[in-house]
């Protein structure tokens, strides 16, 4: 990071946050603080929805994933457009008309307070488990790449996000997200353009795609049906749709974005924009990763992108052999790539593929020796080493901004559920509006400090444990989706069967995760179906009970 980069980083972040706080001034009521007084236009909500979903680690690892695994991750979003319409048709008008602060408040109107409390607690556990990870994961990467202190990186990102969220509420969060998405778009376009411009003379954009394609990286659609395979057309369309329905329809961190809309139409427009824009955006980020792969075909890459692990291993005798062998294999691959571009015949293509396989085998050996993966380090390693001064600062502002927008959205929604669904509902039902406003601010501060605290604990535990905790959080979506499907569509199911249906659904998801190899995108489908079926069966049993007794 040069002086210009620091100037770009801090001036960008200061401008974004100042604008967010400026737009959020003069809030007097709980409704203004938690729902922006329902005055937000569709374009602000649309970009806020996208910013809340695009975390820093998503952004860093998506490009790295394209380098390692190609573009097939884009299929994860194939089910999203249909989910956006289903939510626009059902959840948006129902939530708006019910005049609720949270999605779970609606469940009490449809079922009872017990179902609302259960689902609110599920959300708090799920988000509470993940909120520290959203801070810790990017901090670890920035620490390794930039040599910053992990503790200070977490504190800086966390405290800035807490500051503008506590002061400005959801209005500050939404307008900050809006600016961050614009900066992110500009940053990605510049990074993409720079990656192409850094290709050697005579190698153009289409040549880079041919090199990546021959290595199997240009694979944005795969038609193999395999339940154990994470990303293919079918897991994306079906599993991806269920995940998007659960995430955008039942997760308060997303629902709260579109509850701030000034009308049902504005909220719907924000979701429908996301339906159309999300796949091209992810495709573009993955394409940037593919360009980085092509760049490193002609420019010597390190055998490991994780600089800390690389330095630690470089002294060991066995690793010197791996490094020199990788350099040899990379040179053979570069030569084969040049020959393939000069004359594409089955022989030159096969020679290039063979050279690529051999180079990758050596890299796998290095990763095994390091006992780590380096997917999250590839893009930022490229950015800091090859991008010009100023652009590095802009990309870092994107990473910081993405981390902060996720934290801000999560602590804002955690505080809203804590205040509305638990504190006001069960402890202080008669509290005044000014009391609730202060409770909202204090609980936002509490969840922010909790996020920073659990992220700091990440250093004590190892990263794989933190990732496991994060994965545990994603096990709850199927149950959440199931109870909302019951609420919207299965009119004859009452509170008791719905409550126990959620419990059955969660047991089914935990069993699928623990005892099978079924890919995670299918867990939500399993959980949702089990909730619905078990609730309907319990309802039928309950309906017959008086007659049999």
């Amino acid at each position: 990071m040069k002086t210009l980069d620091w100037v770009v980083l801090f001036s960008t972040l200061t401008a974004i946050i100042s604008y967010g706080l400026y737009r959020a001034r003069g809030q007097q009521t709980t409704s203004q603080y938690l729902l922006a007084g329902r005055t937000m236009p569709w374009y602000a909500m649309a970009l806020s929805i996208m910013a809340t979903q695009a975390s820093a680690i998503t952004f860093i690892s998506t490009t790295g994933q394209a380098y390692v695994d190609g573009m097939r991750f884009v299929q994860y979003y194939f089910g999203l457009p249909l989910a956006m319409i289903l939510i626009s048709v059902t959840a948006v008008p129902l939530f708006h008309r019910a005049n609720v602060y949270t999605a779970y408040e609606f469940l009490e109107k449809r079922f009872d307070a017990r179902v609302r409390a259960l689902v609110s607690c599920v959300f708090l556990i799920q988000r509470g488990l993940g909120v520290g990870m959203a801070l810790y994961a990017p901090a670890v990467v920035l620490t390794v790449i930039l040599g910053w202190s992990e503790q200070w990186t977490i504190l800086l990102m966390g405290c800035v996000a807490i500051l503008y969220t506590v002061l400005g509420g959801i209005k500050a969060v939404t307008w900050t997200d809006f600016q961050q998405m614009l900066v992110m778009t500009v940053g990605m376009i510049i990074a993409f353009g720079t990656a192409i411009s850094l290709l050697p003379p005579g190698v153009g954009f289409t040549d880079a795609l041919r090199v990546a394609g021959a290595a199997g990286k240009v694979n944005p659609v795969t038609f193999n049906f395999d339940l154990n395979d994470r990303y293919n057309l079918f897991s994306g369309l079906i599993g991806g749709m269920f995940l998007a329905l659960a995430y955008f329809g039942c997760d308060q961190s997303q629902v709260q974005r579109y509850l701030t809309g000034k009308s049902i139409t504005q909220s719907r427009l924000s979701l429908l924009f996301n339906a159309v824009a999300k796949i091209p955006m992810q495709f573009f980020i993955l394409l940037t990763g593919v360009m980085v792969f092509a760049f490193y075909t002609f420019q010597a890459p390190p055998v490991l992108f994780h600089a800390e692990k690389l330095t630690a291993l470089q002294g060991t005798p066995g690793f010197s052999r791996i490094e020199s062998e990788y350099k040899e294999k990379w040179q053979a691959r570069r030569l084969a790539a040049e020959q393939m571009l000069a004359a594409e015949t089955p022989e030159t293509v096969e020679r290039y593929r063979e050279a690529h396989r051999e180079a990758e085998a050596v890299r796998r050996e290095a990763l095994t020796a390091a006992k780590a993966t380096d997917t999250n380090y590839i893009f930022l390693s490229f950015v800091t080493q090859y991008l010009p001064a100023g652009v590095v600062g802009l990309v870092m502002a994107v990473i910081f901004g993405a981390a902060m927008s996720v934290i801000a959205g999560e602590i804002n929604s955690l505080a809203t559920v804590s205040v509305i669904d638990l504190y006001q509902r069960f402890l202080k039902p008669q509290a005044s509006d000014s009391h609730m406003m202060w409770a909202s601010r204090l609980l936002t501060l509490f969840w922010g400090l909790y996020a920073v605290g659990t992220a700091q604990l990440g250093k004590t535990f190892n990263l794989s444990l933190i990732e496991a905790v994060n994965l545990l959080g994603s096990l709850f979506y199927g149950g959440l989706l199931g109870v909302f499907v019951l609420a919207f569509y299965v009119k004859h199911v009452t509170a008791g069967p719905a409550f126990w249906g959620v419990i059955c659904g969660e047991i089914a998801i935990f069993a699928a995760a623990r005892y099978t190899d079924i890919a995670f995108l299918w867990w939500n489908v399993i959980g949702c179906v089990v909730v619905i079926v078990s609730a309907i069966i319990l309802q039928a049993f309950r309906g017959r009970q008086p007659a049999t007794s």
């Binding site: 457009p81 249909l82 129902l94 795609l209 021959a214 719907r268 429908l272 796949i279 569509y489």
Partner: protein, 40 residues
């Protein structure tokens, strides 16, 4: 829960579903063509 709330555009939800279906099929076909063009 469709009849009394028209969508923001295209006039009816049926048309919105059709439009998003066409969009998805187009995306998948374009991705397939893109893959075929650059994978020897």
């Amino acid at each position: 829960p469709q009849q009394d709330e028209p969508p923001p555009f295209l006039g009816s939800w049926k048309r919105v579903y059709q439009a998003i279906g066409i969009y998805l099929v187009t995306v998948i076909v374009l991705f397939w063509v893109f893959k075929r063009s650059f994978t020897p």
